[in-house]
């Protein structure tokens, strides 16, 4: 298949109607088939993202947060089954052909991967790597692209004289900045940042988070940031979505989700990272007994039921849907309005 000539799709911007979100994900289900048995990594996820909005996806390894984020740009292995709808600018990306996907990636939505050392090509200069997507996606010459690469480096706080450096010549924080410059190279509308600060120290982490916040705000870019650390997400994002075992269990404005989580799992996750000075967590680490569920199995009822301190009989069967409550939502039978919403009221 040749995709060198990318056909123009003139109606692509107009497919998004006024008032519609930039990104609208419905019933997203992702199943991996790489091993002997299927792994149900995402199990019916719904969420929407407005233009300029920042969303933090929280959860532990295996919760499906990275799976969901990578499925948006169809960056998952070929043998993966992805169903549902991913409407980006009103266009269903799951129905788009590969040529169209290639032009969406970088130009309209881009990814900052975790572990900048492995995501960057070690044998090419950082300048060449930033220039590449610009030349590929836009009708600009080498010289103009290089000038933009210099500007981008300056804007992420890497001196532009480093343009001819190789990744190994930079520190971990600088490499992560280069990754951000690459992601911004084609002025995307959406940035997906997958644990962008995981391997970094607190001070460098604070620098990178501050930079990321400024860049998306200045440019009006929508951001999906993935992390297991709620405090990192709360310091960067307007809203937080908490995932567990492939399902969204809670969404809402960051501060509210952190300060008064509705779902028992979100409560446990919030308690895992103490606030310094909070007497409740002094010499009392917040933990959660048990282990996350096996994703190779179908789950009946609430996926968190086996570990939940507030579990009831009705949690153990059927589907516990995400119930909207003002601008917050949670998938838990204990949430106010749950019975009315599911029709038991």
């Amino acid at each position: 298949m040749t995709t060198q000539h990318v056909p123009e799709v003139p109606e692509r911007r107009t497919a998004q109607r006024a008032g519609e979100p930039l990104l609208d994900v419905r019933d997203l289900t992702v199943t991996y088939h790489s091993g002997k048995v299927p792994v149900y990594a995402a199990r019916g996820v719904d969420f929407a993202l407005a233009a300029g909005e920042t969303l933090g996806m929280a959860g532990e390894s295996g919760s499906g947060k990275t799976t969901v984020a990578m499925s948006l740009l169809r960056l998952l292995p070929a043998e993966t089954t992805v169903t549902g709808e991913i409407r980006f600018h009103g266009e269903d990306l799951l129905a788009a052909n590969w040529g169209r996907m290639r032009s969406v990636r970088w130009a309209e939505a881009s990814v900052v991967f975790q572990g900048a050392m492995s995501a960057l090509n070690p044998v090419r200069t950082i300048g060449d790597q930033i220039v590449e997507p610009i030349l590929l996606h836009e009708k600009v010459g080498e010289k103009a692209a290089r000038a933009r690469a210099r500007d981008l480096l300056d804007s992420v706080g890497v001196p532009s004289r480093r343009i001819a450096s190789y990744p190994h010549e930079l520190s971990g924080g600088q490499r992560q900045r280069v990754m951000m410059a690459m992601a911004l190279a084609c002025d995307p509308h959406l940035l997906i940042a997958d644990e962008p600060t995981t391997a970094l120290d607190v001070i460098v982490q604070a620098q990178i988070l501050g930079l990321l916040t400024d860049l998306v705000r200045e440019r009006g870019i929508s951001l999906i940031m993935i992390s297991h650390d709620l405090s990192v997400l709360a310091s960067t994002c307007d809203r937080i979505a908490v995932m567990y075992a492939g399902r969204l269990v809670e969404t809402g404005p960051s501060r509210q989700v952190i300060a008064s989580p509705l779902h028992p799992y979100a409560r446990a996750l919030a308690g895992a990272f103490p606030t310094l000075g909070d007497p409740a967590s002094r010499l009392a680490p917040g933990g959660l007994p048990g282990d996350p569920p096996d994703l190779r199995e179908e789950i009946d009822g609430c996926p968190f039921a086996p570990r939940c301190p507030e579990v009831e009989d009705r949690c153990r069967s059927g589907v516990i849907p995400l119930v909207q409550h003002g601008d917050r939502a949670a998938a838990c039978v204990h949430v106010t309005g749950y019975d009315e919403a599911v029709g038991h009221g």
């Binding site: 532990e60 390894s61 520190s171 924080g173 600088q174 120290d201 607190v202 001070i203 460098v204 982490q205 604070a206 620098q207 988070l209 501050g210 916040t213 297991h228 650390d229 709620l230 405090s231 990192v232 709360a234 310091s235 960067t236 960051s254 501060r255 952190i258 300060a259 446990a268 996750l269 308690g271 895992a272 990272f273 103490p274 606030t275 310094l276 000075g277 909070d278 967590s281 002094r282 010499l283 009392a284 680490p285 917040g286 933990g287 959660l288 007994p289 282990d291 996350p292």
Partner: protein
């Protein structure tokens, strides 16, 4: 006879230098550290990557031979002979960051936990002692786990097995290097609770190395903050984390992501420091936000006077000449020599 109120483990003027690689100067990873761990105490050693905290931990368990200074156990200097180290390791055990890497993938849980006992020739009641260690780390019933292999365990269970292996010889001290950083958030708290339980039930002291200030708040009695090979501030958790005095400690605390305040304070600039090029005087002075605000004569002190911390158990100490809690001992350098 060892003083029961004195430190159980101590570093005195400890220095570890890694030899130069071609074209690079030698790295002074640990560069004159005085630190004391009390009996039954949990001490958190906090710092960024490259500050020398892991090297210090390894030197404290005898894995690295220091270039200068000494390690003391129960008041006695560690003898670096075969028998001296062997005896020392019964008392002081190391727990590593990545439990999966620390376990042999072809060894089942029983054999992994029994390894220390075997190496020390303590075969009497082996299985009973393995079971007891697994119970202590919360793996019940222990027999249920004997035949499992590391890949059949969750990350939290793997770390429990590693800790159980460290417990079999009845140590007095655990030195744990980032024991929860590879674990998931909800599992993290369970492992930290385990350290507190072991202290309460067995009187076990722990030196926990981490970059995570929240960990110190969760489990430690005292905190030592390390920067570029030296301890810069030490004291109780409340003193150091709530009323920090060293500008570096303040910078670290400012960098903790805030959940309530979206307008973060300006992060400390610059790159993590380089142990092959340690600045003269106070090693934090090139990045120090406090120094930038001082009049010239006071700022000059940062280049010449370096407070020396003692290996004390109960004293708040800050290695900054401008801090209230700066210790009286100060090494002064000739300014001409420093600027040369």
């Amino acid at each position: 006879m060892a003083d029961p109120t004195g430190p159980v483990l101590e570093a005195r003027d400890l220095a570890v230098t890694f030899p130069a690689r071609r074209g690079h100067p030698a790295a002074r990873a640990v560069d004159g550290v005085n630190l004391a761990l009390g009996r039954g105490e949990v001490l958190a050693l906090i710092g960024e990557s490259g500050c020398g905290k892991s090297t210090l931990a390894r030197a404290l368990v005898g894995l690295i031979e220091p270039n200068a200074g000494e390690v003391r156990y129960a008041g006695q200097p560690l003898r670096r002979t075969r028998s001296g180290l062997r005896e020392f390791r019964r008392h002081v055990q190391l727990v590593l960051q990545d439990p999966y890497g620390a376990l042999n993938p072809r060894q089942n849980v029983h054999d992994a936990v029994a390894e220390g006992l075997r190496l020390h020739g303590q075969r009497a009641g082996l299985t009973r002692r393995v079971a007891a260690a697994l119970e202590q780390v919360g793996m019940r019933p222990p027999e249920h786990f004997f035949d499992r292999y590391p890949h059949q365990l969750s990350g939290g269970q793997q770390q429990r097995v590693v800790i159980a292996g460290a417990l079999t010889l009845g140590p007095e001290v655990l030195v744990a290097d980032e024991p929860v950083s590879s674990l998931d958030a909800s599992v993290r708290g369970e492992i930290l609770k385990l350290f507190l339980n072991l202290r309460d039930e067995l009187g076990l002291a722990a030196l926990v190395v981490s970059h995570d200030l929240g960990l110190a708040w969760n489990i430690a009695d005292r905190v030592a903050v390390m920067y570029l090979g030296r301890i810069v501030e030490v004291g109780t958790v409340e003193e150091v984390l709530l009323r920090p005095q060293h500008p570096y400690t303040r910078a670290l605390l400012d960098a903790v992501p805030s959940t309530s305040d979206r307008e973060a304070t300006a992060a400390l600039g610059g790159e993590p420091p380089d142990p092959t090029a340690i600045p003269p005087g106070c090693r934090f002075h090139p990045r120090c936000p406090l120094r930038a605000t001082l009049p010239d004569d006071r700022a000059q002190l940062c280049l010449t006077d370096v407070p020396v911390l003692a290996p004390a158990l109960h004293e708040r100490q800050v290695a900054c000449v401008h801090a209230d809690a700066a210790p009286p001992t100060v090494v002064s350098h000739d300014p001409a020599e420093v600027t040369r």
